[in-house]
Point group: C2
Chain length 215, copies 2
């Protein structure tokens, strides 16, 4: 019985996601769905990325949070359109709330929309938002076993950002083991090793994400 209910919810989500995807294609807007555990550094990555990418793209942000507008407030300095979706306990964004949020933007005046999903390595990967692609963000302090233990996201993502490289030497994180697990799950998945605070790999990240936006 629960399986049937889940299928209905996912079907309704998929229909709306297809509608969103068609609209974005028509308007030539790239939408990127950022997914990670709580505290992997999605908002910090967005801060750094907006600082660079707003020089060449017209960008908006959709902030998914259970409660509070804390993340959105960290991005206010960029003077770009930001919509906060508070899920009030809900563990992921869905295509219906994204569709509503898009209604508040002037899509003809945008190139890119970043969606910061609710901090959760599981549920958000099961709900298509109509995004152009998903990005997985993990951090070295979470441990190297996350792809093996939470494989769904890593099968779906177009790239993996490994953040907090500045802290790796204080942990028992094995890059070799992490890369090997990723390889098993999704052999072609690009891996970007960065530190948002220290700056490691940020230029490579800006170049890579710009290529994805333009391709």
């Amino acid at each position: 019985m629960e399986i049937k209910i889940m299928k209905n919810i996912l079907d309704r989500n998929q229909n709306k996601a297809d509608e969103v995807r068609n609209l974005l294609a028509e308007k030539k807007v790239v939408m990127i769905n950022l997914i990670s555990s709580p505290g992997a550094g999605k908002t910090t990555l967005l801060e750094k990325t907006l600082g660079e990418l707003t020089k060449k793209y017209r960008i908006a942000v959709i902030e998914g949070d259970i409660t509070t507008d804390r993340d959105a407030r960290r991005l206010q300095k960029f003077n770009i359109p930001i919509i906060v979706i508070n899920t009030e306990g809900g563990c992921h964004l869905d295509s219906h709330s994204i569709s509503k949020a898009l209604g508040s933007f002037f899509l003809d005046e945008l190139d890119v929309i970043f969606v910061e999903n609710v901090g959760n390595l599981i549920c958000p990967s099961q709900f298509d938002l109509g995004e152009t692609f998903k990005l997985a963000i993990v951090s070295t302090t979470e441990g190297d076993d996350k792809p093996a233990k939470y494989p769904m996201l890593f099968r779906e993502a177009k790239g993996v950002v490994l953040n907090k490289m500045d802290l790796i030497s204080y942990t028992n994180f094995s890059l070799e083991s992490f890369r090997k697990d990723l390889q098993m799950i999704n052999p072609a998945l690009p891996l970007l090793e960065i530190s948002c605070t220290r700056g490691d790999g940020m230029n490579e990240w800006f170049e890579w994400i710009s290529r994805q936006i333009e391709s």
Copy 2:
């Protein structure tokens, strides 16, 4: 419609949770539900805790994971009963799977059951397993804003373990801000600041958890 479905699922979960709670009370077994983000250190905390507490209590473990038995294998050295529940994509444990797992233990020969829930700061806090109490585990590398952004767990928990104190000086984690947010959400909530790798606060943790088990 989705709200009604969710209510049905939660009602069915609650009935079974009540049954589990009654059974555990009758058998005088304390069941502790450990909840955190992926990578906050639940399994490492369990390793350290079993090393100490198996000296005085008869302990079993239920390991909740989406897939793999990696966490369970880390605990095999203790030679205690361990059941792995693979949720196959499910984002939390529920009382039905716990009830089945309890059927595999000899409850008359146990004092304590630790349940390591699926790594997720959201969904597990909404599903009563029939546990004696919930514990929230967070780590300094996740950032100090987790209680404010994910309040449900912190309202329900009997205590908060703040792990990875050895890494706090490499982050922008503010203990003052973290404590202030916790105070707003749940003023009486005990906070244990520890480092499983360096040993900070571990004796206080062993004493505190022993008191909870015996009370």
